[in-house]
Amino acid sequence: MKLVRTFLALALVAGLAFAQTVDYFSFTTDQAHVDELEALIEVFEAQNPGITIEYTTAPFGDYFTRLQTDFAAGSPPDVFELNFENLATFASRGVLAPLDDLLGTDGRDVFYPAALDAFAYDGTQYALPITFSTVVLFYNQDLFDAAGVAYPTDAWTWDDVMAAAEAINDPANRVWGIYQPVQFWEFYKVAQAAGGGLQVAPTIAIDTPENLAALEYLVGKIEAGVMPTDAELSGVANEDLFANGQLGMLVSGIWMFDRFAQSSFDWDIAVEPGGARQATHFFSNAAAIAASSPEREAAWKWVEFLAASPEVAAARIESAWELPALSLDNADALAPYLARPQPANREAVFASLAFAVNPPVVDRQPELQDIVNQELEAARLGSKTPAQALADAQRRVEALLAD
């Protein structure tokens, strides 16, 4: 009896010595994607006996606070999600494990180059992109047909957008021509499309004629009455408005495909029209390893699996939310995505990548975004003119970064 007990104790100790637990922290919280994550963890654990993945999630709004608190407490997760805007904050503090040696030069080829480069800081790779998404112009074909307007093409410009929006607009029946958010993420992109940009280095150039044209385009849709005001929206999400058939056009992300697929009207997408030039979003989320993680080897296997395994790529394409950030040469993996019926013009997702631009990134990113958002909101609500808002943003960002 005693022998059995000793044996069991020994087995337990041995088991603990070999079993590795990797803590994974993610900001993807909705149930469909948590289910997907659990299924992927099962696949990974079957392929890698001895490694256990324990995941936790937090909504995006709380995620970075929780993550930084974990670091402050000295117990960060081994692997965690990061996005482009927050990479610099973490990488510059030396809390991320460098990945170059683990990745090797061959390992780089499987990724979409811009996505991989986005997660390098000072020439060192600190995270691997696990998803990417873009923003496109969604349009309600039924409303276009009813107004007798031709569908958007890749050759469209802002003038075409405004003309179509005015033809479709019917605010008395709570139908509007278009919705395009007026906030930080839209603005840095539209500013580049206007030939400017939200430049923060080497000099701060926010209050420029090009950026003014960009903001006037964004706010002009409200002034022309073809886009609902905040009061008209009254807290209704713009995506819901589109899904209800109340918007002719919507500038939004490809992660909405699944949601809009349930709509009762026909819709499609186009590459986002430009002004002086075309500019589109390129959003990418990545997985990084904490520099202090004792399980770096197991953590790397999990990161590699999340970023580049065929199982994960297939699952992401199946769920039609965000795409794996793999090289476009990998046509076989993407074929099932393109083959799906709605929206018909799925090529626009990839065509958009040709015009992808990046947001400005500074060490004090959350404050930069807060300032820019406040000024854009003032312009959107009409409490400041676009020129005033940009002048104030310029002054406040200068003060922030001089500090």
């Binding site: 670091f71 005001t229 905040d230 959350p366």
Partner: protein, 289 residues
């Protein structure tokens, strides 16, 4: 029977220990730590760095801080007179012999014990410009209601309105207790001297109610310096920064911008501000009540 010596101390320690340990760990400890943090720069990712008084110097010419202070004072200026007036009127009304007195007292006190998050969410709906009850009722009498929380000029007023609605019951209860302490004879005597209800309120009720009024006023004053929950849930400091208040800025600096040292400095400035105002206020109370 009192126990003596070590035994007595042991008994005391056993009874007080649990709550004192909690108090020390979760209240006194963090308060002392925040004072030390106020002199550091700490981003949570790297160890705190001693910066001396720099956080306080920076605070002095941080326009965001002064804007938040101005908004806090705007809230105070709207909230204090309104909540005291409504609280007093309700207390006087419910002190008289009216039908369903206990019921109304409970109803007016109900919002006080309700959670701020729930109250703020309900009011967000009531004040919704397109679908809200308030603008619907205004439309019935031919008034086009404002956009409330979506309009920078109306947002702070909306927050004040909601706060007054929630806290009227608190002021009412304090003043009711005070009213119960005023002898009936004073009212009878003043009635014989020819005083009407308004004059009785002015010359009997209010002077004798002074201690209760000062108590309700000082608690409300401190609460309005610390206004946060309703702002956080209803506006998040918006629209376009029209309702940023001090505590909201502290939370944002700490938990959105990861500037723990700066946030700690701000909270100590707020503490000193409340401390000074409260001292000045209790001096005034000694003179008037």
């Amino acid at each position: 029977m009192y126990e003596r010596g070590a035994r007595r101390w042991l008994t005391l320690a056993l009874f007080l220990g649990p709550s004192l340990i909690g108090l020390a760990l979760f209240l006194v400890g963090p308060i002392v730590a925040s004072l030390a943090l106020a002199f550091t720069s700490w981003d949570l990712l790297t160890p705190p760095r001693w910066v001396g008084a720099r956080n306080f110097v920076r605070l002095a010419d941080d326009p965001e801080f002064w804007t938040a202070l101005r908004h806090t004072l705007q809230f105070l200026a709207g909230y204090l007179p309104l909540v005291m007036t409504t609280g007093l009127l309700v207390a006087v009304a419910l002190n008289g012999r009216i039908v369903g007195r206990a019921f109304f007292r409970a109803v007016y006190f109900l919002p006080v014990v309700a959670s701020w998050v729930a109250v703020a969410l309900v009011w967000k709906w009531l004040l919704n410009p397109a679908f809200g009850l308030v603008n619907f009722l205004l439309a019935q009498v031919g008034v086009a209601g404002p956009a409330w929380l979506f309009d920078p000029t109306w947002a702070m007023f909306s927050v004040v309105l909601t706060s007054v609605w929630k806290d009227t019951g608190f002021v009412m209860v304090v003043l009711l207790a005070g009213l119960q302490g005023i002898p009936r004879e004073y009212y009878e005597a003043s009635a014989i001297d020819g005083a009407g209800p308004a004059q009785q309120l002015r010359f009997v009720t209010v002077p004798l109610l002074m201690p209760a009024l000062f108590f309700a006023l000082s608690i409300s004053l401190i609460n309005s310096f610390q206004v946060f929950d309703q702002v956080y849930v209803m506006t998040g400091g918006g629209p376009a920064g029209a309702t940023t208040v001090l505590v909201e800025r502290i939370v944002r600096q700490a938990f959105s911008f990861s500037r723990m040292g700066y946030a700690a400095a701000m909270s100590w400035v707020l503490f000193v501000l409340i401390f000074v105002v409260t001292i000045a206020f209790s001096r005034a109370q000694k003179r008037f009540a």
